[in-house]
């Protein structure tokens, strides 16, 4: 089995390095093909490993070599394939295989074709390291690695100012979170003496709750960055500057879920600190609602999907925070499928629309792009959580978890959000595919994507439809590692009322969205309508003014402070004082050199003056010595 592990891990790296050889040369189709084949081989290996684990195989663990060893610290390059990591491996390799194949078509005309595959495969490798590592340090390698690749890929079109800005923003925000993660690692090391999962978790129950809470908090700060939780969420929407396959792979299916994976992986820790878990869940619920609300009014197709991703991540954190790790992981998996599908569909639309992103400028695309229409609609249905698609099984489960754990506020928030989700998803679908063909105003002739791209997407489509049916198999598998809490609502009546109620609520949202946006009266908004001028709309449209606040109150002051530090403090105080000391020495020399007037008379006077000075000192001292007793008496009288 180890050989499959190595293939799964290193095939993407090989693909990346191979493609990297051709970065400076013009497009070569074979780089894309070979990279894709290697990723697919990784996928196959992962499948074999999955089968092996499903059939009750022991987790595969390897230790390749030492990485760092000093003092008591020992960190190997160790990898493990167990029930949790194999799930993630499946998700990662599957989605990335699809995205690779899809990208061969999508990036067809791009000058940086070879470079793109190099980056993309490198990302897959980093992600595999992240999920397969058997220790926190290895996780951190992957963690930073995906950050790097995300930076590269968001800024892939580096001539665009917005893209490079977004790339840097993403990297820096992630770094802030990584710092938290790092501190979490330090805490774990100094308290448990190791960074290996198994040993560290084994040592944790013996520790102080307060320390554990801090560990949990810092690790979660790391997760917040990668999974773009509030307040570190702004980068995710901006990251949509990257090529769409990247958004599908990184910013929907895999990297952003790394935070969830971390919490799931660290479940023995979070189990010990339920109050932190509750905080995570509450934040998750807040983000779910918060992101969904911003998606309601946005006019950028990819950003809408990105906010939806954010919102779904919130769901996952609710589950994870409440201790339903397997539920979180399950939703992670299902979400990966339909969200990647949604993005890839959006990519098709963008291709067809010459990179136009505003859905108001589209409309009626279902005719020229039938397959894309079907896929995106199904993905949206899955996202909305309509039976029997994947989203129903995973998302409803989270609602149940919240309900069963008596967190009714969370439940209510999530339920409401589910409605919003359905609304914005279908608002998008309706605007793009239904209604009048507004794109004609802009002289665009849309066409359907290449067939192999569509075929490439099909596995995702299938999984988005049927993933729910794996629920029990999956449950049995992962609960070998994760707490096997089943969430059953005790009263059947309540269960049915809830399920059907939710379905109805969601369905009515869909209908409302269709009614509002699928008609022929939709025009491109011009900022004059009443709604657009309402406070709520503006608030949502400007993302609660958070980017503005960050820019005004964090970025600008930082820039100004930096300038002050440099120009005022470094140059004018620190450096000037050094030069000042030198200047004083030099200046004293310059001023006192007049003493050397060159006039003999002056010179003689100096000599006599020196002698007289010494003489008077001598007299003073002599008198003091002669009358020392008296002086002492006087001084003591004065109380000195």
């Amino acid at each position: 089995m180890e050989v499959y592990l190595y293939i799964a891990l290193f095939a993407p790296l090989v693909g990346s390095l191979f493609a990297a050889l051709f970065t400076a040369t013009p497009k070569k189709m074979f780089t894309g093909v070979i990279a894709s084949l290697l990723i697919i081989s990784a996928f196959v290996s992962s499948t074999i490993l999955l089968m092996y684990i499903l059939n009750g195989g022991e987790p595969v663990q390897v230790e390749m070599m030492t990485w760092m060893a000093t003092g008591d610290l020992y960190i190997p390059f160790g990898f493990v394939v167990d029930q949790v990591s194999v799930t993630m491996m499946m998700v990662v390799t599957l989605v990335s295989s699809v995205v690779h194949v899809y990208s061969v078509g999508y990036m067809d005309h791009d000058k940086g074709f070879n470079r793109f595959f190099s980056y993309l495969s490198a990302f897959v490798f980093s992600m595999m390291v992240l999920v397969m590592s058997d220790n926190f340090a290895g996780l951190f390698i992957g963690w930073e690695g995906v950050g790097l690749c995300s930076w590269l890929l968001i800024g892939f079109w580096y001539h665009k100012e917005s893209a490079t800005w977004a790339a840097n923003e993403a990297f820096i925000m992630n770094r802030i979170a990584d710092l938290g993660m790092l501190i979490g690692l330090f805490l774990i090391y100094w308290n448990t003496g190791t960074l290996q999962y198994t040993e560290a978790f084994a040592a944790m129950p013996g520790l102080d709750t307060e320390i554990l809470a801090w560990m949990g908090i810092f690790l979660f700060i790391g997760a917040m960055g990668k999974s773009a939780q509030f307040p570190l969420h702004t980068w995710l929407a901006d990251a949509m500057e990257g090529p769409t396959p990247v958004s599908a792979l990184i910013h929907a299916a895999t990297m952003v879920t790394a935070g969830v994976y971390l919490v799931v992986r660290a479940n023995p820790l979070f189990d010990l600190i339920p109050h932190v878990g509750l905080f995570i869940a509450s934040l998750g619920a807040f983000v779910a609602l918060f992101a969904a609300s911003m998606a309601l009014v946005n006019r950028d197709m990819k950003r809408i999907i990105a906010y939806s991703t954010l919102s779904q991540l919130g769901y996952m954190f609710v589950a994870a925070g409440l201790g339903a790790y397997w539920v979180a992981l399950f939703h992670l998996m299902a979400h990966a499928f339909f969200k990647a599908l949604l993005f890839l569909g959006a990519g098709n639309v963008m291709h067809a629309m010459h990179d136009e992103l505003d859905p108001f400028k589209m409309g009626g695309l279902k005719k020229p792009m039938k397959w894309t229409f079907i896929m995106m609609t199904l993905a949206s249905v899955a996202l909305a959580g309509i039976y029997p698609l994947a989203g129903f099984f995973s998302k409803d489960l989270i609602l149940e978890v919240a309900f069963v754990d008596h967190h009714y506020i969370l439940y209510a928030v999530l339920l409401f959000t589910a409605g919003l989700t359905a609304f914005y998803s279908f608002r998008l679908v309706a605007l793009i595919f239904h209604g009048e063909e507004r794109y004609k105003l802009f002289g665009i002739h849309p066409h359907e994507a290449y067939k192999y791209m569509l075929i490439g997407m099909s596995p995702l489509l299938i999984l988005a439809i049927i993933a729910g049916s794996f629920k029990m198999t999956y449950f049995e598998m992962v609960t070998a590692l994760l707490p096997a809490t089943e969430y059953h609502i005790h009263s059947h009546l309540t269960f049915w009322i809830m399920t059907i109620g939710t379905q109805l609520f969601v369905a009515s949202s869909i209908v409302y969205a269709y009614k509002k946006y699928a008609n022929n009266k939709i025009t491109v908004p011009d900022g004059t309508s009443k709604m657009e001028n309402s406070f709520a709309y503006k608030l949502l449209f400007n993302q609660y003014y958070i980017p503005y606040i960050y820019e005004e109150y964090l970025v600008k002051p930082y820039r100004e402070l930096s300038t002050i530090f440099w120009e005022q403090i470094d140059l004018k105080i620190v450096d000037a004082s050094v030069d000042g000391i030198a200047g004083i020495v030099y200046g004293t020399g310059e001023k006192t050199r007049a003493m050397q007037s060159g006039n003999l008379s002056t010179m003689l006077k100096w000599m006599v003056a020196g002698t007289v000075g010494l003489l008077s000192l001598a007299v003073v001292f002599g008198l003091a010595a002669r009358y020392s007793d008296e002086i002492m008496a006087i001084l003591s009288g004065l109380g000195v």
Partner: protein, 502 residues
């Protein structure tokens, strides 16, 4: 009265006079030769002088051997005092003179060297310095001092430029004042103790427990003023830059070394017993002198535009640095003084000799003075070897290891540390840092600036000749490989200083 004179020749121990007599004989010989046949080439006189100086040196080696066997020797009515200090300082005086005198074998002709009197006076001067250090009798010190000084004034004046006359007059006048101070100081000591021998004075003063401390201090004040003049302590230093500038570079180099070591020996003999007897006033005053001299001279050196003048101020600063040894007054510090001065002699002779070989007859337009900094601009391009050697001397003066003066500074600062003069040690170190700037300035001119267009490229070796080059080579080798020299020197010096009771 006549009967009472009953002195055996042996008890006079006339051998103690031998080292001083040799140069005197040499000087007379030169004068005699000139009487018979005048107008001979300078090389003859140089060689005669060197021969006599070597003989002098040999006799010193002999007395050094005697000293290491029998210890301190007195002679000639107990006027001569041949102890370790006397021998060591005479070594430096004679040694430096041997290296100095060939500097007159320049390729250009200079006025003073055509007179045999120059060489005669030179030898007389050496004898004067030797007397000065080899006695503890104030009269003999005074006589030696004046013999040497009067000869020196004349030697300076013989350079025969306007500036050298001005320098000589300034030096002379101030020297006369200093002589008056010295004699006045001696008079007060004599009045207090009835003796002019430092040993006696010390004994008497200690005997009455420094009852008349006020008068002692008056005497010390005048001594200090007079020796301060000789050692160029601020504010008695004002002659030094002008005299250095006015005299020829070789003479200036010589003056920075030989007269000062003689002055240090006298200062050591007079002041150290006072410090050890707990005259705090002197300690405080010397402390101030040391610090002010080091620091102020450094600051003035910073702002100079002429290299020779800069070196003059730097010599003042070095003198202040070494004066610390007398303040500290331990065996280690006194040994450090000699070590420092030997190493300083190497370096300073070398650097002044470098100025000497670049001596021009006429000053071109871009120079404001004989050796202004911009004369040396871009020297690395035009004469790289000379530039490297000059840089070497500058680095050594700055105290950059492993060059000669670093070891001197190291040992000196260490002596301050060991004697508990913590602040002084720090001030000494920081002054070395300030001094770094002006030495560096020359290096920067030489290595980092472009040569001035139209400058004569031969200027740096204008005056060079084989003897000059060999002396510079010798000094350079001594400067670079000082680390080999340090250990034997230190062993030798320490044993001599220790056995002299200092």
């Amino acid at each position: 009265m006549l009967e009472s004179v009953n002195v055996s020749l042996e008890s006079l121990n006339l051998i103690t006079l031998l080292p001083m007599l040799i140069p005197v004989i040499g000087a007379l010989l030169i004068l005699v030769i000139d009487m018979f046949k005048s107008g001979q080439d300078k090389s003859l006189y140089v060689m005669i002088a060197i021969i006599f100086l070597f003989m002098d040196f040999a006799s010193l080696v002999d007395s050094a051997g005697a000293f290491s066997q029998d210890g301190t020797v007195m002679g000639v009515f107990n006027v001569m005092l041949i102890d370790g200090l006397a021998i060591l300082s005479q070594f430096i005086i004679v040694g430096a003179s041997i290296v100095f005198i060939p500097l007159s074998l320049t390729s250009k002709r200079f006025h003073e060297f055509s007179y045999p009197e120059f060489f005669a006076l030179f030898l007389f001067m050496i004898a004067g310095f030797q007397f000065m250090v080899a006695t503890d009798n104030l009269i003999l010190i005074f006589v030696g001092l004046e013999t040497a000084s009067l000869a020196l004034y004349t030697l300076i004046a013989m350079h025969n430029r306007d500036k050298s006359f001005e320098a000589a007059v300034k030096y002379f006048t101030m020297g006369a004042l200093a002589a008056a101070f010295f004699s006045f100081g001696s008079m007060v000591f004599y009045a207090l103790t009835g003796s002019v021998e430092i040993n006696q004075i010390a004994t008497v003063l200690a005997g009455n427990g420094y009852a008349d401390i006020a008068y002692v201090l008056v005497a010390v004040t005048f001594m200090l003023a007079s020796l301060g003049f000789k050692l160029s302590l601020v504010p008695f230093h004002t002659w030094a830059p002008d005299v250095y500038e006015g005299s020829s570079a070789s003479m200036a180099g010589y003056m920075s070394i030989v007269p000062k070591i003689a002055g240090f020996i006298v200062a050591m003999r007079i002041f150290e017993f006072l410090i050890h007897s707990g005259v705090e006033w002197l300690e405080v005053v010397l402390y101030i002198f040391v610090v002010v001299t080091m620091t102020a001279a450094n600051m003035w050196a910073l702002v100079q535009t002429d290299v020779k003048r800069m070196l003059a101020y730097s010599s003042i600063s070095h003198a202040g640095f070494v004066m610390a040894a007398i303040l500290i007054g331990t065996t280690q510090s006194n040994s450090a003084l000699f070590l420092y001065w030997v190493l300083f002699a190497f370096t300073n002779l070398g650097s002044f000799a470098m100025l000497w070989i670049s001596r021009q007859k006429n000053i071109p337009w871009y120079q404001t003075s004989d050796h202004s900094y911009n004369k040396f601009a871009g020297m690395i391009k035009t004469s790289p070897i000379a530039a490297v050697i000059m840089a070497l001397f500058m680095l050594s003066l700055a105290g950059v290891p492993p060059f000669a003066l670093f070891w001197g500074k190291l040992y000196m600062i260490s002596s301050a540390v060991n004697a508990g003069y913590n602040a002084l040690a720090l001030i000494m170190a920081l002054n070395s840092a300030i001094a770094g700037y002006y030495y560096l300035k020359l290096i920067i001119y030489m290595f980092m600036k472009e040569p001035i267009v139209g400058a004569d490229e031969q200027v740096f070796t204008n005056n060079s000749s084989l003897p000059l080059r060999s002396i510079i080579g010798f000094a350079a080798i001594g400067t670079v490989f000082a680390f080999i020299l340090v250990n034997p020197l230190l062993e030798f010096i320490t044993s001599f200083v220790y056995n002299s009771g200092y």
